[in-house]
């Protein structure tokens, strides 16, 4: 047993309003430099949709993540020999046109234009070439309903859905969508790290944050293909790969990452989980329909004396263990089994989990009125949500979050519905206790758990959402440097400007 700590995340999709505040908070801090304009370390996608970059989930196109070949778990991209053979040209690399050409507007022209009969305009200017350009795509081009029949219809997850359901999804009157905010998953079995020829990408042992060493990166560009979530970006200006750093400078000083802190819907949770590093490969190798359960088994109980002893042997401090015990992520993922990893079929064991959104029920236009069918007179009707009548097919969500295992997704929804029914019977009282009891039984929850789920979902305090573990940096790198000298002179972090002079 090799117990390691991992800073992990839960996004509660039911609360996401798709406002992109997280994306902007991140962009303003980290990616407003030349060469990074197109990078959205945090982005929000509309699902069904093709996402950013376009069709990132299509691994036949980009070959990210892992696959089992002859029973062995190997990067889907290519073997070690072929990696070196393809250094001169990576055939699976997305190009800037799979994202978008970043632009600004010629605002200055509004002020400097000579006097004339026409109102001066601010034309779009490419941030790469500086030339005028036609804007053809943007980071959230298929946001909300924007071009839904064009974009949504190409969502790779729809392959799992029957033709009939696909028609239902696309029919304008009942078009349905959900938001999917995405950041780097800081995977336990990262694909980007595994394919980097230079060994520039690495996982921090103490907290599991995945980073790119800018000095070691040699622009071999395999990581961009190797990450199935397309969350490693290539800085075309410096010739280096860059990615979400989970705001580690903020975490190390006890702050939540910027996208977490700024989240308007308060959908984000952060906390430590403990996992057994000896079982990573074994866990990532199980058949598709067992992946979610295997991932849950990989996560260890921070109250188990054996786990504690092994954690301490690895240098995990008592304070960190205490933090792991009150981690909201542990509760959502392991204790309540409500949060699911995004695309476990990529086999990277992501550390970001999603509580799927409660879904609106199916409806048809009948005699010019909007008719909610199939749930009809059943006791769940007032809850506006029912599993069988859900407008987004369970198959679709299973493709997104459970590698096709519908039972896992259904179990999550039974619990979510049970919490809703129970709380409604408590607060509103239009549901009888017997009906509430039945819902709890179907969901497999007791009253206390249902109320705890409700509380952490709907009424958590700031400190309950973000249990930032003490990172113990004072025990780590600083003793090798003199803080008094560093703080007065070069400061921490970059010692030289990240610019090419040659």
């Amino acid at each position: 047993m090799d117990i390691r700590a991992q800073v992990s995340m839960v996004f509660h999709l039911d609360k996401c309003i798709g406002c992109h505040t997280c994306s902007i908070a991140c962009k303003n801090i980290w990616t407003d430099r030349k060469g990074t304009e197109y990078m959205w370390w945090n982005n929000v996608e509309t699902k069904p949709g093709t996402g950013y970059p376009t069709l990132w989930e299509d691994q036949e196109k980009y070959r990210g993540g892992w696959e089992k070949r002859n029973g062995k778990l190997v990067p889907k991209l290519q073997g070690r020999g072929r990696t070196l053979a393809n250094l001169f040209h990576n055939p699976y690399l997305p190009t800037i046109d799979d994202y978008y050409e970043p632009w600004t507007y010629e605002y200055d022209h509004l002020f400097s234009a000579p006097e004339g009969d026409d109102q001066p305009t601010a034309r779009a200017v490419s941030l790469i070439t500086g030339d005028y350009m036609e804007i053809e795509a943007g980071p959230n081009w298929d946001d909300d309903l924007g071009g839904s029949p064009i974009y949504a219809a190409n969502d790779p997850n729809l392959e799992a859905v029957s033709d009939e359901d696909r028609e239902l999804l696309n029919e304008l009157e009942r078009v349905v969508f959900m938001y999917l905010p995405r950041i780097c998953n800081h995977c336990v079995n990262p694909g980007c790290v595994a394919v980097c020829p230079a060994g520039a990408l690495y996982k921090r042992g103490e907290d599991g944050i995945v980073l790119v060493s800018q000095d070691k990166c040699r622009a071999w560009r395999m990581c961009i293909s190797g990450c199935p979530y397309k969350k490693v970006y290539y800085n075309w200006n410096t010739g280096k790969s860059e990615k979400c750093i989970l705001c580690y400078p903020r975490l190390e000083t006890g702050h939540a990452p910027a996208c977490f802190h700024s989240c308007v819907g308060r959908i984000r949770y952060l906390g430590l989980i403990l996992y057994d590093a000896d079982r990573i490969v074994e866990t990532a190798s199980v058949p598709d329909d067992e992946l979610v359960q295997a991932h849950r088994r990989l996560i260890q109980d921070p109250n188990d004396p054996e786990v504690i002893a092994n954690a301490k042997a690895n240098g995990i401090t008592d304070a960190q263990l205490a933090s792991a015990r009150i981690s909201p992520v542990y509760r959502f993922v392991k204790e309540w089994e409500l949060a699911l990893p995004l695309h476990p079929d990529f086999r990277t064991l992501p550390s970001l989990f999603y509580v799927p959104p409660m879904l609106p029920v199916q409806a048809h236009i009948k005699d010019n009125s909007y008719d909610v069918d199939e749930v009809g007179a059943s006791s769940l009707a007032p809850l506006l949500s029912s599993l069988e009548g859900a407008r987004v097919p369970i198959k679709y969500l299973a493709s997104l979050m459970a590698a096709g295992n519908e039972e896992v997704v259904e179990a999550v929804y039974r619990k979510l519905i049970a919490v809703r029914v129970h709380m409604r019977s408590q607060k509103v009282g239009d549901i009888t206790e017997a009906e509430a009891k039945e819902a709890l039984d179907v969901g497999g929850l007791d009253t206390d758990t249902a109320e705890a789920i409700f509380r952490l979902t709907a009424q958590p305090t700031f400190d309950e959402r973000f249990v930032v573990p003490p990172m113990g940096r004072e025990m780590a790198i600083e003793p090798t440097e003199d803080p008094f000298r560093e703080k007065r002179e070069t400061g921490f972090g970059y010692r030289t400007a990240p610019e090419r002079r040659w």
């Binding site: 990067p75 070690r80 020999g81 990696t83 070196l84 250094l87 001169f88 040209h89 990576n90 055939p91 690399l93 997305p94 190009t95 800037i96 790469i128 070439t129 500086g130 030339d131 079995n189 990262p190 790290v193 595994a194 980097c196 020829p197 230079a198 060994g199 690495y202 996982k203 921090r204 042992g205 103490e206 800018q214 000095d215 990166c217 040699r218 622009a219 071999w220 560009r221 961009i224 290539y234 075309w236 200006n237 410096t238 010739g239 280096k240 990573i280 002893a309 092994n310 042997a313 690895n314 240098g315 113990g472 940096r473 780590a476 790198i477 030289t496 990240p498 090419r500 002079r501 040659w502």
Partner: protein, 229 residues
């Protein structure tokens, strides 16, 4: 006197510059120690340039290395006319491959605005030198009957004399000037090596073949902390 400068002074200066400059850049500016890939901005033309260029030049350079390190073996190989013929044809084919690839790379840098933006003056200099060098090499191979012999009989002893610090240009001073240009061109490329994107050569990630899949870096000394539980 000119020969002495071109064939003795330039080689020594070039190698000295390459070693010192390379070390200086590696230790002072490791951030830039790579070839700045532009595949992200343009991929299709790059394929037709980069792939033939790299595979062509790798094989050509290995052949040059074989001639310089084991001239005896090379003399044996080309001693038989039929073998010489095969090697001449193969060598020239790979030379053509490098010229086609390099031309595609140059045209690409001219014709795509995005690529032009990320091209430095040193990139242009390097491309020009490389093109001149491979064209000269191909010219010698095509138009000089003794091209294949000169490598082993003339250039190899000259290089060996330079390595032994007993420079002797007797062998190469009498060669046609176009061949001498090829010899000097090689050293010019070595000279500018540390100041261009060529530095990516010495960072070739061979160790990827055996390194563990996952890289984990611990800030605290883990061996000191980790006790067998």
């Amino acid at each position: 006197m000119l020969d002495q400068f071109l064939l003795i002074a330039i080689p020594y200066m070039a190698v000295l510059l390459a070693v010192l400059g390379g070390l200086y850049r590696y230790y002072s500016d490791r951030f830039s120690y790579s070839s700045q890939s532009s595949e992200f901005l343009e991929s299709r033309t790059l394929f037709w340039g980069s792939v033939p260029w790299h595979y062509g030049i790798i094989i050509i350079l290995l052949a040059h290395l074989l001639v310089f390190l084991l001239p005896g073996l090379w003399k044996g190989i080309i001693g038989e006319p039929s073998r010489l013929y095969v090697f001449e044809v193969m060598g020239f084919s790979f030379a053509l491959l490098t010229i086609i690839g390099l031309s595609a790379l140059i045209v690409r840098r001219f014709s795509f605005r995005r690529i032009m933006i990320v091209t430095s003056p040193m990139d242009w200099l390097l491309l020009a030198l490389l093109l001149a060098q491979v064209v000269l090499g191909a010219y010698v191979a095509l138009f000089y009957r003794w091209g294949a012999e000169w490598g082993a009989y003339k250039a190899a002893p000259w290089l060996a004399s330079l390595v032994k610090f007993q420079p002797d240009i007797g062998n190469v001073a009498t060669l046609p000037w176009i061949v001498k240009l090829h010899l000097i061109g090689g050293f010019l490329i070595i000279a500018i090596f540390p100041f261009t994107r060529l530095v990516h050569l010495v960072t070739f990630p061979l160790s990827y073949l055996w390194r563990p899949r996952q890289v984990v870096i611990w800030n605290r000394k883990r061996e000191k902390v980790r006790i067998k539980a």
